[in-house]
């Protein structure tokens, strides 16, 4: 159990990080160029880390599987980034952001980590503005804010519905600057295939050049994994097609514990599934819940008529609409946290009120008509028109909406062929983010010394449910403001190590294993495509390890995934060769890891006999269908040790969570 020491510094909550920074070891500037660091992934967490470490003077090698670091999936984050700036003077503070995040995570995250996150949040905004990130501004020239779920203040900074894009391009610009200066060497279209551990320390990686197929050895004094989340285990998700768990899974296989794999965020507002050839789901930003009201018809027969195309939503009178979030959670209304909103939508659809004409009738409305009217009226008044006509109100209201959410509305229309300014949007929950990930201590170090994990790839800050606009915050906090300190603290012991040779037998062995594995997939020569297996895995996960979970379903999932994995190794068909650009091979290698992870997620969900955040076990709910936690038994992080592909054999280690500064309570958004 000694391995699970979270290394939380002593002292009062607000002083922990400052004290820790004062006490950590440093590496002098003249020693830094002698030290190599590898960063895998170039999203917010990876690009910010690589840029910062390069700037400090370390020799950095960065890797991404995309054709450019700028494509990492952080780019798709829409709504915003939280920071406790209190520019709006609405009572925000570091403590409140900390408190909201812990509560939002349903009391399953570490106090010290979350406090540090809130503490550095303000610096992130300062940093990004200095980098030229064009955040939305008010007419006075200062930064604008909006609200996100699970909060009662306006602390979210944004750039239209493209905040992730702008932040990532900011981090990418900092990274590009370091590449240009020769301090970071960039390896695009490269995938990490394994971690090389020598004498118990992370000492490098085996990478595959995805264009030539060549297998490469790269050594370093420390390795940072910033490879994102594993939502693609569900096949259909809001993740990019290439998003995968492989870097995290490889280090798990080499000894890093994997924590809380069952904590998955199902985002309430995505465009519903349309058909079997669908490859991904598209998010409609949570920011839309600032302006949109979620409803279904109160009468089942109205819902049925809508599905059959006989009724339009605009024909349903106000009194026959059930604004179920406002009804159930009046204090937070449409801005309840994501897990709560998702479950409520599922409950209504399960009860027969779903409005989408797909196989499962899964869909609810997100309606902007009230907001269009109220903002239209305001805009008319602002122009001095105190008796605006209906037409003027609607025109000005739509203009206001377009300014705020234009790109999202355009995206919706492209995908669905319906105009959301006239008809309410149809939405339904979809897999979006994974709170679970590689276990790390306060320094973001995994259970393998020298192997650090940041951003979505680690488990650390969001507990059982992440609040909206907090992922961008965490990715950048880890890379810009945490790793430069904690990694240096580790590297201070490495200044005498010297260059690490890639001729070591450990490199040799790891490379051979990778090559054998590739040959294995190419030689199976079965009958079914990689995608067909991936889709099947996704269905098992969505139906049995999705929004509602129960013992029987989870046990079935564990068996079914085991069988599917056997079938995969027997019958998958991977065309082409090892030494060429071969996307089917890339996919096969990734899906093989997802087939192990998916099973571990079910094992973890089965072990956690409680409901908390995004993990909803149907056996554990109160009379109103809200989550029932079991703090006595499960106020802990479940960290799993790898013992082979069959996750039934994985060994559980528990890190108890202590709440010293917050009084733990039932989450209440009513």
């Amino acid at each position: 159990m000694s391995k699970l020491d979270a290394q939380i510094p002593e002292g009062p909550l607000a002083e922990k990080w400052t004290n820790h920074k004062n006490q950590m070891k440093l590496v002098a500037p003249n020693n830094r160029p002698k030290i190599d660091v590898i960063v895998v992934g170039t999203g917010l967490a990876g690009a910010s880390a690589a840029a910062s470490l390069g700037e400090m003077g370390y020799n950095v090698k960065a890797f991404c599987f995309q054709d450019s670091p700028r494509r990492a999936h952080s780019i798709a984050a829409q709504g915003g980034i939280n920071a406790a700036k209190n520019y709006q003077n609405d009572g925000d503070s570091i403590y409140r952001l900390f408190y909201d995040t812990i509560k939002g995570g349903d009391y399953r995250s570490r106090e010290a980590n979350v406090y540090r996150l809130a503490e550095v949040s303000g610096n992130i905004i300062d940093q990004c503005v200095a980098q030229g990130v064009p955040f939305a501004r008010e007419y006075g020239g200062l930064l604008d804010n909006r609200s996100f779920g699970g909060t009662q203040v306006q602390r979210t900074f944004y750039a239209a519905g493209q905040t992730g894009q702008q932040l990532l391009l900011g981090a990418y610009s900092a990274l590009s600057r370091q590449i240009g200066l020769g301090r970071v060497s960039m390896h695009s279209r490269h995938e990490m295939m394994d971690l090389v551990v020598i004498d118990g320390k992370a000492r490098g990686i085996i990478a595959r050049n995805l264009v030539s197929g060549e297998i490469e050895r790269h050594s370093a004094h420390a390795v940072v994994i910033a490879s994102g989340g594993y939502g693609n285990v569900y096949f259909l998700s809001t993740n990019a097609m290439g998003s995968n768990v492989s870097a995290g899974w490889k280090i798990h296989k080499r000894g890093a514990y994997f924590a809380n794999p069952c904590f998955v965020q199902i985002h309430p507002t995505c465009i519903p599934v349309h058909g079997t050839n669908q490859s991904k789901l598209t998010l409609m930003s949570e920011s839309l819940r600032n302006s949109g009201r979620i409803w279904v018809p109160s009468k089942k027969e109205d819902a049925a008529a809508i599905r059959e195309g006989q009724l339009k939503p605009t024909q349903i009178p106000e009194e026959d609409r059930d604004y179920f979030l406002e009804r159930r959670y009046p204090a937070f209304g449409n801005l309840v946290p994501r897990d709560v909103a998702s479950r409520a939508a599922k409950e209504r659809c399960d009860a027969g009120h779903g409005i989408e004409a797909n196989d499962t009738n899964e869909g609810v409305y997100l309606d902007f008509s009230s907001e269009i009217r109220s903002k239209g009226k305001q805009a008319a008044y602002a122009k001095g028109d105190h008796h605006p006509s209906e037409e003027t109100i609607l025109a000005l209201g739509k203009k206001w909406i377009e300014e705020k959410y234009g790109n999202l509305f355009a995206m919706y229309e492209k995908i669905t062929d319906e105009n959301p300014y006239e008809m309410p949007m149809k939405i339904y929950p979809a897999v979006h983010y994974t709170m679970g990930g590689v276990w790390v201590d306060y320094n973001l170090q995994s259970t393998i010394p020298g192997c650090f994990v940041s951003g979505e790839a680690n488990f650390s800050d969001h507990g059982a449910n992440r609040l909206g606009a907090s992922a961008l915050m965490q990715g950048l906090a880890d890379g810009y403001f945490v790793l430069p300190y904690t990694l240096s603290n580790y590297l201070a012991e490495e200044i005498r190590t010297g260059k690490i040779s890639t001729d070591a037998p450990e490199f040799e062995a790891a490379e051979r294993e990778v090559k054998d594995r590739i040959q294995l997939f190419l030689s199976i020569n079965g009958t079914r495509s990689v995608d067909s297996f991936h889709k099947k895995l996704g269905l098992i996960m969505w139906n049995k390890v999705g929004m509602g979970r129960n013992e029987a379903g989870l046990k079935a999932a564990i068996d079914e995934i085991g069988l599917l994995r056997e079938e995969f190794y027997r019958d998958v068909r991977v065309p082409g060769e090892a030494h060429e650009y071969n996307p089917e091979l890339d996919k096969a290698l990734r899906v093989a890891d997802l087939l192990e992870l998916g099973q571990l997620m079910a094992v973890d969900a089965l072990n956690r006999n409680e409901s908390c955040g995004g993990h909803f076990r149907e056996e554990y709910q109160d009379k109103e269908g809200e989550t029932l936690r079991n703090d006595e038994r499960f106020k802990m992080v479940a960290a799993w040790e790898y013992r082979g592909p069959d996750s039934n054999k994985s060994v559980l280690h528990e890190e108890k969570l202590d709440y010293e500064f917050i009084k733990i309570a039932a989450r209440n958004y009513k």
């Binding site: 450019s68 494509r71 999936h73 520019y87 590009s176 600057r177 097609m241 065309p575 650009y581």
Partner: protein, 255 residues
Amino acid sequence: MATKFINITLKIWRQQNSQSKGSLETYTLNKVSTDSSFLEMLDQLNEQLISDQKSPVAFDHDCREGICGMCSLYINGRAHGPATGTTTCQLHMRKFKDGETIYVEPWRSKAFPIVKDLVVDRSAFDRIQQAGGFISINTSGKTMDANAIPVPKQNADKAFEAAACIGCGACVAACKNSSAMLFVGAKVSQYALLPQGKVEAQERALNMVRQMDEEGFGNCTNTGACEVECPKGISIENIARMNREFLLAASKSNK
């Protein structure tokens, strides 16, 4: 938006690698849902090719929501296909007719060599960015408070519009000269419009333009095809703004 199914013929550019010669191959694909995206249609084709023991078509894609800029493709002679303001991943098959023949080719530009089939190498864009597409500050987060310098909303909005570029390369592909001026102009403008970026605006323009020329992109002759085909509606105003910065810098430094 009732779902329909259509049958199509595809003429797709196949090329084994950067060294080999390519050609257009013909495929027929039946029962394509009009709700599918263009890339989902290619997935369906690849599924069919794999089950027929043939080699699947390689194409670049990742986010499939129009923001990562990884997808490309010349579809029926147009960058990102027939719909305006749309990336290939957001183009849906409802834009095509039953029985239609669709031509699919990679971006064509000397500065974007073909990797395989429809995949091209756009790393030239990264190198341009590395030459000056940034503000030279460190990442300490301690520079100054974010609200210390008010930025007129109008400038902030214009900077944002320029920054919306996804780096897909459609501007280059659409241009008869293979010019990258819209891409470079957008980056130069984003920073030049903000007080934080103004300091280095001229130096930046010089450096980025120099790298652009080294990469083998052509010159701008004001045709405007780039603006028309840009999936993000980046305005050619940005090219004018870059030229202004560049001229100011060049006249001062004699470079």
